[in-house]
């Protein structure tokens, strides 16, 4: 079976993409530019600007001289690449093998596909009319080889279909640029007056190779179908999704649980094959009366354990109202992360413990919210509120050691509370203080321990901390904010010692 290829060339890919987002630019001449060696160089233009003679590679100042109304936007290389990839994925509906041809083309291997659309002409028309309806300027060529199709798309106006076996005739009148040759070879060909492919097509191969290098022969062979040109197809990411349509609408909890379990098993089997685990999962239920019900779960670390995930869903399942019945279930893992195989974990004896623990945490997080679960690591600050930080994950290890050499209270108030004190000035612990309406006589005291505010983090006065003990034996951590001097410093209660 002969192979057939379509090459689609998006002439103004980036500009068309921008217009799709910002419709007001449709009739306005604009160019995408990037600073290069201290000047703004045009990287791509739109159709309106092109008509007025603005071309890629020109300097913006020159373009403005030609066309004063030209708008200049920033060129975004990533946008072009992602757009092209997205277009490629979109084209998979027409053929399973689609390759990107950077910067602005797509290669479609359409062998055996066109007859499904009633022949090559309606097939190509269908693709191009859809693409043009999106607002893209698309040129296409169809031929037996990638090279010829590329040449037709780029160098022949209109959409060209080269019939099987007519490659040579079609290529003959085209310029050598149509062969995708490097610039130095092209300039050599032009210098020698070889403006058309036919003028050097019949030359002896050895002479061509000697003068222009092997590349010319390779490209010529590829265009004429005498050499194989491999293409690298786009592999779309298959979403981690399980669909389960039901013949009879599901109305009972038992049925729902059964379906959920089988869907989870299917999803986890796939995740196990990919060495991945899910972090977030959404169950969408489509009801007979077109209502959509959704429940979500999240885990604290990637998981593909069916019983565990099922348990997490069990807490949420009561929120689903089946009403007249659910006819379609869709289970989708929205966030998937790599999960190393269990074999690795076997070596550590704690593997099972960790799993049970993270399952407990997931259950709690599902019920009361993950923001209520905290684990602390030491941080190198003296300021008490900053000397611990919240750990990001269960496995995070402390970088520094926990300090035991300085007295720190067992209970620390999240916000220090103002107290009334009787205190000898300037630098003594209080003799008595009133906290929440209760009077405490200070019997013993230690201190002060001065802790300065870290100026690079926050402004504020330093604190002088005192450990004091009252007549009952209760031990407190008080501090004075600032000095005695021009202002009256305030005293605060900050913690309680054991």
């Amino acid at each position: 079976m002969p192979r057939r290829f379509v090459v689609i060339w998006f002439r103004f890919l980036e500009a068309d993409r921008v217009v799709r987002r910002r419709a007001e630019l449709k009739e306005v001449p604009f160019a995408m530019a990037l600073p290069q060696h201290g000047r703004m160089v045009v990287k791509s233009v739109n159709a309106v600007a092109y008509k007025h003679g603005v071309r890629a590679g020109m300097v913006v100042a020159d373009c403005r001289a030609i066309l004063p109304s030209l708008q200049v936007l920033d060129h975004d290389n990533d946008l072009v690449a992602t757009t092209l990839l997205a277009m490629g994925e979109w084209c998979i509906r027409y053929t399973p093998v689609v390759a990107a041809d950077p910067p602005d083309g797509l290669i479609l291997d359409i062998s055996g596909c066109a007859h499904l659309w009633g022949g090559e002409v309606p097939y190509l028309k269908e693709i191009l009319s859809r693409l043009r309806a999106f607002g893209y300027h698309a040129n296409a060529g169809m031929a037996d080889t990638v090279g010829a199709a590329w040449a037709m798309a780029h160098f022949v106006p209109g959409d060209v279909i080269v019939a099987t076996g007519q490659l040579t005739e079609a290529l003959m009148p085209l310029p050598p640029d149509a062969l995708r040759l490097p610039a130095d070879v092209l300039s050599k060909l032009h210098k020698l007056g070889l403006y058309e492919i036919r003028s050097f097509m019949a030359m002896p191969r050895r002479a061509l190779a000697r003068r222009f290098g092997e590349i010319l022969l390779m490209r010529l062979d590829q265009a004429l179908g005498q050499a194989i040109e491999p293409i690298c197809p786009i592999k779309p990411v298959v979403p981690h999704q399980v669909r389960k349509p039901c013949l009879d609408p599901v109305r009972t909890a038992a049925g729902l649980e059964h379906i959920l379990r089988s869907m989870l098993e299917e999803l986890c089997r796939r995740l196990a094959n990919e060495d991945a685990g899910l972090r977030n999962c959404v169950l969408t239920c489509y009801r007979v009366d077109r209502d959509v019900q959704q429940v979500k779960i999240g885990t604290s670390r990637p998981s593909r354990d069916v019983p565990h995930l099922y348990k997490l869903f069990e807490q949420e399942i009561c929120n689903i109202e089946p009403d007249l019945g659910i006819e379609l279930f869709l289970l989708e893992a929205t966030i998937v992360e790599a999960l190393s195989p269990e074999q690795e974990a076997l070596w550590s004896t704690k593997a099972n413990t960790d799993k049970e623990l993270s399952e407990l945490i997931d259950r709690v997080a599902g019920k009361v919210g993950s923001d209520t679960i905290k684990r602390y690591l030491p941080d190198e600050h003296y300021w008490p509120e900053r000397s611990v930080r919240i750990a990001g994950s269960l496995n995070e290890k402390p970088v520094t050691i926990w300090r035991k050499d300085i007295p720190r209270p067992v209970c620390l108030l999240p916000v220090p509370e103002v107290i009334d004190v009787t205190v000898p000035i300037p630098d003594y612990p209080p003799m008595l203080f009133r906290y929440k309406g209760e009077l405490h006589q200070v019997v013993k005291a230690d201190g002060p321990e001065r802790i300065e505010q870290e100026w690079w983090i926050a402004d504020g006065l330093q604190r002088d901390y005192y450990c004091v003990e009252d007549e009952q034996g209760s031990r407190f951590w008080l501090f004075r904010s600032g000095h005695y001097g021009s202002t009256e410093p305030k005293w605060f209660m900050h913690g309680f010692f054991a």
Partner: protein
């Protein structure tokens, strides 16, 4: 004399057997006793701190709450092996993680859960008590009914996790299904050699109820990572405050 000795041995062995049956087979776990609890251990059945059980602690003011937390941390440090994990649940938790290190617990091995509602606190404590991977669960709540405490006890019997329930400012000291009831209040500390300033943490420890054991009351001091018994003679009396100014 010989048969008499044998009889005592038999009674001891029988007592041990009965004890292990009462605990539902968890006794095998408790082979090594908790060292460093000093005089308290005599109060427990079999002279070992009851694990796989729920203990109740009651405190009424902030000073006592801090003392209770300190005592719990001290015991927890003895109960937990170096790689053990602890969960600390409380709605209005004020525990400062840095202090845990002073009582022999690595603070990063403690997971703090602060559910906003009381109902969720109880649910979380129960779920945590069911988890085998944990060594200890500390819960801070106010009221605890008998039925709720029974649920916690049932959870513990299956998983053999030790649970500490710290009841702060409860309205009534109702009967609960916990294995013991403790009341810890701060005691006047004494610095070494009569130096001024604060000494080591010192507590009045009251063990008001303990299943199969002898309740008692002690003054204990936390010193060098151990719970030390303080004889009555060197307990500091509250000083009579003399007015120095005014």
């Amino acid at each position: 004399m010989e048969p008499l000795l044998k009889k005592e041995d038999i009674v001891k062995a029988l007592q041990k057997e009965v004890l292990s049956m009462q605990r539902g087979g968890a006794a095998t776990l408790n082979e090594q006793s908790v060292t460093g609890l000093g005089a308290i251990e005599d109060a427990f059945p079999g002279k070992e701190f009851p694990r796989a059980a729920v203990h109740e602690f009651i405190s009424y003011d902030m000073g006592a709450a801090a003392a209770t937390n300190g005592f719990m941390m001290g015991v927890a440090g003895k109960l937990m092996p170096a790689s053990g994990v602890c969960v600390w649940v409380g709605a209005k938790r004020t525990v400062y993680p840095v202090a845990l290190a002073q009582f022999g617990i690595t603070p990063d091995r403690v997971i703090f859960i602060d559910p906003p509602r009381k109902k969720d606190v109880l649910w979380t404590i129960e779920e945590a008590l069911k988890c085998d991977a944990l060594q200890l669960v500390v819960g801070e709540i106010g009221e605890l009914s008998f039925m709720e405490s029974r649920r916690l006890q049932l959870a513990v019997e299956r998983s053999s996790v030790t649970g500490f329930i710290h009841r702060r400012n409860p309205r009534t000291e109702n009967t609960v299904a916990c294995v013991s009831r403790w009341k810890i209040t701060p005691a006047m500390s004494m610095a070494d050699d009569g130096m001024p300033g604060l000494g080591m943490p010192r507590w009045h420890v009251q063990l008001q109820k303990v299943r199969n054991g002898k309740p008692g009351s002690w003054v204990l001091e936390w010193r060098n990572g151990m719970m030390c018994y303080v004889p009555k003679t060197i307990i500091a009396l509250p000083e009579i405050h003399t007015r120095k100014t005014g």
